[in-house]
């Protein structure tokens, strides 16, 4: 800064002589002034310095301003002679000032930016939406709802604690029948009347509860918790089932096959799948069928659907038993329909390759993080069920 001031002082001293110079002298003096100004401009190191040069030249008493003032006192001939010279000087100095100013601004910005540099490799915190997880059971229930919603089914639910009537009697389980025993029921203590509540062993009680509330046509799917007194790698005392029920005046086995094939294709996300329907037995359906699905299990730890030569049992189904329709207040000669049920945990395990059912209920965050789903992975038919 002091250097610049010295320069300016020097320049002013020169300029005070200019007015009295002859043209030739003046020209020589102008040349000196110009080169001195241009040198000052070039050496100005920052914006205040360049501003000082501008004031020294173009301020009220600036060297160039003073020079320009002399033009007014000149004769026309002198002005004609000196005018262009002085104006030329003014223009060139102005230009140089503008250019240097821009240059210095760029330098200043560059310096500031350099000073502001940070280490962008420093880690940032993960978005909570990327950390959170939806449990595979919820995800699969949403997938099921997306598929059946598209087929015109509503989702129905019912209580976990049930009466013997809804869980067994209304579903055509005769008293003492071995099929009842196969259900390994959890019971509560009997009440004063000797009646004991139980934990529903299947989602089927909701069939009756729905028929009691709603006249056909009925198209529902019923996901929910179910309970049986059983525990090993493939059985858990609490598990999840999804049940389906269609009741109208025409629904038949052929329709049932279609619905279940559509479901399996959509759920396992394969263009086609072979299914094997085997006659079987459930007290609440007649005829009853069990369904195996074609798959390939030749690769360890992996199941592929829609290909291969293995069969895997996946669900049970059948035409709603006339006694069940009657229990629901419907005339089996007027109404008919079909129902099916399958394990949500089981189809989730099959689709996503989770080996052990027990881990589902352990809430180990490593497991949840690995097998769980990101909160914004919402199953839709238009976007693909799974991400």
């Amino acid at each position: 800064m002091p250097d610049i001031n010295l320069n300016v002082t020097f320049t002013l001293a020169q300029i005070s002589n200019v007015a009295s110079l002859t043209v030739n002298d003046a020209t020589t003096g102008l040349d000196t002034l110009e080169s001195s100004l241009l040198a000052d401009i070039a050496s100005a190191a920052d914006e205040p310095a360049i501003e000082a040069v501008r004031i020294a030249a173009f301020g009220k008493k600036g060297t160039v301003s003073e020079m320009l003032k002399t033009l007014g006192a000149m004769t026309a001939e002198e002005r004609q002679l000196k005018g262009p010279v002085i104006n030329g000087l003014k223009n060139r100095v102005t230009e140089a000032l503008t250019a240097r100013k821009a240059e210095l601004k760029d330098v200043a910005i560059a310096a500031r930016l350099a000073a502001e540099k940070v280490d962008v490799t420093l880690p940032v915190r993960q978005s909570p939406a990327e950390r959170g997880r939806i449990h595979p059971i919820s995800q699969v229930i949403d997938e099921i709802a997306a598929i059946f919603g598209d087929l015109g089914f509503a989702i129905a639910e019912g209580p976990d604690i049930e009466t013997d009537y809804y869980n067994f009697t209304a579903l055509n389980f005769p008293e003492g029948h071995p099929a009842r025993e196969m259900h390994d029921t959890f019971f509560f203590q009997p009440d004063e009347k000797g009646e004991r509540k139980l934990l529903r062993t299947h989602t089927s009680p909701v069939q009756i509860r729905t028929m009691e509330k709603q006249k056909p046509p009925i198209r529902i799917v019923i996901p929910g918790k179910t309970y049986r007194q059983d525990s090993d790698a493939t059985h858990s005392p609490m598990f999840h089932q999804v049940e389906g029920l269609v009741i109208d005046k025409t629904a038949n086995v052929a329709n049932m096959k279609w619905v279940l094939e559509e479901f399996c294709k959509a759920f396992f996300e394969v263009p086609s799948v072979k299914m094997r329907f085997r006659p079987s037995f459930f007290p609440f359906t007649e005829p009853s069928l069990e369904v195996d699905i074609q798959c390939d299990r030749s690769r360890p730890g992996e199941v592929r659907f829609g290909e291969g030569s293995d069969w895997m049992e996946i669900l049970g189904c059948g035409m709603v038993h006339p006694n069940v329709l009657r229990a629901g207040g419907l005339d089996p000669d007027e109404y008919q329909g079909f129902a099916w049920g399958m394990g949500i945990d089981r189809i989730a395990m099959l689709k996503y390759g989770m080996p052990d059912l027990r881990a589902f209920f352990d809430a180990d965050v490593r497991w949840l993080s690995h097998y769980g789903f990101r909160p914004l992975d919402m199953p839709t038919l238009f976007g693909g069920l799974s991400a």
């Binding site: 959170g132 509560f188 589902f360």
Partner: protein, 802 residues
């Protein structure tokens, strides 16, 4: 139900292959669970070791010469078995043979420089057992050069079907053959039984004192039998299906059980005192059963007794005392009918599972009670000799067949396929049904062995399964207008949204048990008798949960115990206030542990996460409520929550004076102690089902948005108030000062200090003001500020801090 292929062919004349039979069984509803087909053992032959010398180069190996019985010179085999010796007869595999137990196809190879042309095998190598201490060592009379499999009776494939409980008829090889024959896979044979011809009356009489438990009893005696082992082929069949041959008399009862689904019992007549009586057991009466165990009986159980006491638990297991053994000379053969439900109940109560119980509880063919004795008596005569008496039949009133009225159109109605009438009738006839009449509706007489068939739907199933389910082509389910309402209920939508909203806050969804330890339930207001399981699977899974919190807190601690202390978990599921259908609540709950805050946990260069606390839980609770559609602007937060929370660091969220929408907070030290967990820990519960249903709106159009053209401004105020004053009260007071102009009030500082006085605090607020009609003048602002200060003063006693 297990049987062998050769046994099946006793009753089914067929050219079908094993594969065809297996596939057909499954397709007609007799699901084949397992086929034990030892056909891979075919190439193994019986061979004799001629010489055995030490391997020149290996201590543990021997070099054998083996005669394989093919007339060629003996082959050289290197063998490592300790029992390999000259003279041993065993199972030999020639080069080229696949050995299943080691999963190798043999080649000629050199073992330590000595050529080996095959292998003498152990049982494990043939997958017959785990025995691998030496090679198979057969008796000296085993025929060298013949098939080992047929010598060891391993060439008869064993088929196991997974029988559904409705098919008692298929608990017999004969019944299975009948189904296969009906499906067109062969001809049913071998059913005829010679009528019983006996001499003289059976000396033992039978009285039925419990006719409701025993609708029939047939008995005969064969005198002068010689009870030794049953014939080899007979024993082999029993062994193949997993039964242990005992003696001819006992083996015969087992055989008839499986061959015809007719369980029988044999008594040693010499050990029966007096006559037999069928009666309910006396309370506390004891019997030593054939399994060597003593059972204590109750009056619900039916027994066969003599003068000595109980000789047999009806339909389940005979007694040890009167059982047959080698010394038996006079045998009583019993074939009775037992009530299925009573049999099941008794079996369950005593914990006895037998082949007899399996059949009686499903319902045996009443019409085969008498033929069962005839068949058994015939076999006794064949195997043991002797002279039969006449048969004594007690209590049997005969079978009254069910008649089902069957409109043939039902097949099409229920299945969707057209099966020609003649085919439907033919299928039923082949299964033993007797259709009568020729119109569209026929009367079908149900055979005595099909107690499961009651109505026309059952007959449709018979036609469908034999006609072939595969023949039913899928038909689209038509769309219909009536099912065009919402797919999800409001509660379901809210459940789903709450889950996603909490997951978006970095929490992981857990699914925890509905039943929790009684102690945990009690800590959270549960534990009532109505919600205790009578038969929990484990002592600590006994009570239906009153809250999702104990399960989630325990889960968070389990993770902490594995070294992951910063955990955020949530669950949206059911809790139980009582055992009624309307007492199951839908709750969203979550816990945060350690430093698992919304923005992340643990340390970071940009700022460490602090311990979680009441405000983390509050934010989660409000987010969940917001996702459920609760009117967030109208929620009231009250200090304090249920007893399991920290009383000074918890809150209750209400909508109006009565509706509790949720609670949140840190936990009471006693709760933490009771659950045996450590913190920092906070949590919340939101009652999804308590959020009011949205009002039905006539339009989805949103109200028009009015955007003010005037600049919004903010003004700060600080008030000194009593420490007890809640910030919420002050904020509400400020908001109320001008409902039109003031759009928001936020608290940006709380200060307590000596300068204010011991029981005072300062609350600093920022008031957002949105002029609506005109730009506000200084006077306007002053007037507004005055109203704010006045209203806050009135509501809280606060004064502007100076």
């Amino acid at each position: 139900m297990k049987f062998t292929l050769s046994w099946l062919k006793d009753h089914l004349e067929t050219d079908a292959s094993l594969n065809e039979i297996v596939e057909r069984l499954t397709s007609i509803g007799l699901e084949v669970e397992h086929v034990d087909d030892k056909s891979s053992l075919k190439p193994f032959v019986i061979a004799k070791v001629l010489t055995a010398v030490q391997h020149p180069d290996a201590d543990r190996l021997r070099v054998l010469t083996v005669d394989t019985g093919d007339g060629k010179p003996p082959v050289q085999v290197v063998c490592g078995a300790p029992n390999a010796r000259a003279g041993l007869i065993g199972a030999f595999a020639a080069p080229g043979t696949y050995v299943p137990g080691i999963d190798v196809t043999l080649t000629v190879g050199k073992i330590r420089g000595v050529e080996s042309h095959g292998m003498m095998c152990s049982e494990r190598e043939l997958e017959l057992s785990d025995e691998h201490n030496g090679i198979i060592d057969l008796p000296a009379d085993a025929p060298v050069g013949t098939s080992f499999a047929s010598y060891a009776h391993l060439d008869d494939p064993v088929i196991e079907i997974n029988l559904t409980p409705n098919r008692p008829d298929a608990t017999s090889v004969y019944g299975i053959a009948r189904d296969l024959a009906a499906s067109g896979l062969g001809r049913l044979v071998g059913g005829a039984i010679m009528p019983h011809v006996g001499e003289g009356l059976c000396p033992v009489k039978v009285t039925i004192e419990a006719p409701e438990l025993c609708p029939g009893f047939a008995l005969t005696m064969v005198r002068g039998v010689k009870n030794g082992p049953s014939p080899k082929w007979f024993q082999q069949r029993l062994i193949a299906i997993g039964l242990r041959p005992i003696s001819a008399l006992v083996d015969i009862t087992n055989y008839v059980t499986f061959d015809r689904g007719r369980p029988l019992h044999v008594f040693d007549a010499a050990k029966v005192a007096g006559n037999l009586v069928v009666r309910p057991a006396r309370d506390g009466e004891k019997v030593l059963a054939l399994d060597g165990r003593e059972y204590t009986l109750t009056p619900e159980m039916c027994v066969i007794a003599d003068d000595n006491g109980v000789e047999s638990i009806a339909g389940i297991m005979g007694g040890e005392h009167s059982g047959c053994d080698e010394s038996t000379t006079d045998v009583l053969i019993e074939s009775a009918l037992w009530d299925p439900i009573a049999t099941a109940r008794t079996g369950r109560a005593l914990g006895i599972i037998t082949d007899a119980r399996y059949r009686f509880e499903r319902g045996v063919d009443p019409e085969f009670m008498v033929p069962g004795v005839e068949l058994a008596a015939k076999l006794v005569l064949d195997f043991c000799g002797g002279t039969p008496t006449e048969m004594e039949v007690t209590g049997y009133a005969g079978h009254k067949p069910k008649i089902v009225s069957f409109p043939l159109s039902e097949v099409k109605r229920l299945t969707g396929i057209e099966v020609p009438k003649a085919e439907s009738l033919d299928i039923l006839t082949r299964l033993g049904f007797e259709p009568q009449g020729s119109g569209d509706i026929v009367k079908v007489k149900v055979p005595s062995w099909r107690p499961d068939v009651d109505g026309k739907a059952d007959l449709v199933e018979e036609v469908m399964r034999i006609h072939g389910v595969d023949n039913i082509a899928p038909q689209p389910l038509g769309a219909h207008d009536a099912v065009n309402s919402k797919i999800l209920t409001t509660l379901q939508i809210r459940t789903r949204t709450a889950k996603r909203a909490l997951a978006v806050r970095g929490m992981m969804e857990a699914v925890t048990w509905s039943f929790i330890p009684a102690k945990h339930a009690e800590l959270f207001g549960g534990g009532q008798t109505a919600l205790k399981l009578a038969n929990p699977i484990a002592a600590d899974m006994s009570d239906m949960r009153p809250s999702l919190l104990p399960g989630l807190i325990a889960a968070a601690q389990r993770n902490a115990d594995k070294g992951i202390g910063d955990v955020a978990l949530f669950e949206v599921s059911g809790t139980y206030e009582g055992d009624g259908a309307d007492q199951q609540r839908r709750v969203a709950a979550g816990v945060r542990r350690g430093t698992a805050k919304l923005d992340g946990s643990g340390r970071s260069w940009a700022g460490n996460s602090g311990p979680v606390g009441v405000f983390d839980a509050k934010a989660d609770a409000i987010a969940a409520l917001e996702a459920c559609g609760a009117p967030v602007e109208r929620l009231q937060i009250e200090a304090g929550g249920p007893a399991w929370y920290h009383p000074g660091r918890s809150g209750t969220i209400k909508l109006g004076p009565k509706t509790v929408l949720g609670t949140f907070g840190e936990f009471h030290p006693k709760t933490m102690e009771g659950l045996d967990v450590s913190g920092p820990l906070c949590g919340f519960e939101v009652f999804v089902d308590a959020v009011p249903e949205p009002k039905a709106k006539p339009t989805k159009t949103k109200p028009k948005l009015e955007l003010s053209a005037f600049q919004a401004v903010k003004r700060d105020f600080a008030f000194v108030v009593d420490k007890a004053i809640e910030a919420g009260t002050l904020v509400r007071a400020a908001l109320a000062a001008d409902k039109k102009l003031i759009t928001a009030v936020s608290v940006f500082d709380i200060f307590e200090g000596a300068s204010l006085g011991a029981d005072k605090k300062s609350i600093a607020i920022e008031v957002s003001i949105q002029p609506v009609e005109k730009t506000l003048t200084d006077e306007d602002f002053e007037a507004l500020a005055k109203r704010i200060v006045e209203n806050v003063g009135k509501q809280t006693g606060g004064v502007l801090r100076t």
